[in-house]
Amino acid sequence: MRNNTLFRGMILVGKLTIDGVWKIGSASRFMFYVICRSGMTVRRPRLLLDEIYFAGALSLIIIIVSGLFVGLVLGLQGYETLKRYGSAEAVGTLVALSLVRELGPVVAALLFASRAGSAMTAKIGIMKSTEQLSAMEMMAVDPYSRVVTPMFWGGFFSMPLLAAIFSAMGIFGGYLITVVVIGVDGGAFWSQMQASVDFQGDILNGIYKSVVFGFAVNAIALFEGFDCLPTAEGVSRAVTRTVVTSALAVLALDFVLTAFMFTGA
């Protein structure tokens, strides 16, 4: 009776549920600590600057290059399709709206998670497994406020800027391919774009999205690093989990935010 499949299945479900709740609880407590101990970041802005350099400035190249290429592809594909309906000038609207509303925040967040998020997890995980964090505590240095908090705020600050750079580069790429290479009228390209992109409805909502994604990706990356098993394999698994979980979280959050922002009215 105790060994039948249903019984074992129930045990598995129960264990997974308890593990999940446990993890959500400790992640929330972790974020609560991080936000409570943010004072150090204000007192020592040097730490924050280092992290903005690490998370933001070093991500510039990948963001600029991928933004440009996404814009080029969008422009090319949009032009090929819109040409059939004789409205090739609307390609500006297409590129701008898809970048500002969706692709900018989402792709920038995915790139950020795989470039900066994974590095954050690895850094904290290795500090944990080589007992550097414990050593700090022994010296009465709080590892939260010295290591984790500046990382969090650095990434949180960088994310919306990276998303904006991505969108701007993408629109520039769309301009390059359609106006400069293919020869769509430049005036119509910009004026149709300006007529249909709303600052509040489209651009600000895109920025709000990237702020939410920045919070989620940084929280996941730091928590996974802090939570990992202090072994080589534990760190490598934590890095993998960071990338997978942040990608899923970004896509799911994007759906929820889009449902709230762009429906109705």
Partner: protein, 156 residues
């Protein structure tokens, strides 16, 4: 890492980021459109608004002069009451007329505002009396077929 290098790169990153935001706000967004909250409100009643939506443009002589603020169904007259917000800098005579038009064959619907000849101007809360409803394709086709049928009826 040298302090100076970090500072320079963070400086470059933040500057480029804000330049990107500025580009989005000024070049991509509709910075030249007046804000919707600014201006005065007039209303008009239509028999049928077709596919008109809130925030649709109000154009006079092809220039955007306002936006549709609210669309409600008036149960006492069984017509649609459309509230329009016009920019403060635009002034129209009291006997102006509004009609619901379509941009292109498949385009969005918008409100066309034609100025009248009255000396008095529209002010906040006024009601525009001369309205023309949206063209509904089925009705137009129906009317066309009806005319054709009556024409051929006369010939016989």
């Amino acid at each position: 890492m040298q302090r100076g290098t970090v500072d320079i790169w963070v400086g470059i990153f933040v500057t480029v980021g804000f330049l990107g935001l500025l580009f989005l706000a000024l070049k991509v967004g509709s910075a030249n459109n007046f804000s919707v909250s600014d201006g005065y409100v007039v209303s008009a009643e239509f028999d049928n608004i077709g596919g008109l939506k809130v925030k649709a443009p109000v154009k006079s002589a092809g220039v955007v002069v306002g936006r549709v603020d609210r669309i409600v169904f008036n149960n006492s007259t069984l017509r649609a009451t459309v509230t329009i917000r016009l920019g403060r800098q635009f002034e129209f005579p009291k006997d102006s007329s509004v009609s619901i038009l379509t941009a292109g064959l498949l385009g969005e619907q918008y409100i066309g505002l034609d100025g009248g000849g009255d000396i008095d101007l529209l002010v906040n809360g006024d009601k525009i009396l001369l309205t023309q409803s949206a063209m509904v394709l089925e009705k137009v086709i129906g009317q066309f077929l009806f005319n054709k049928a009556s024409e051929s009826g006369k010939k016989n």
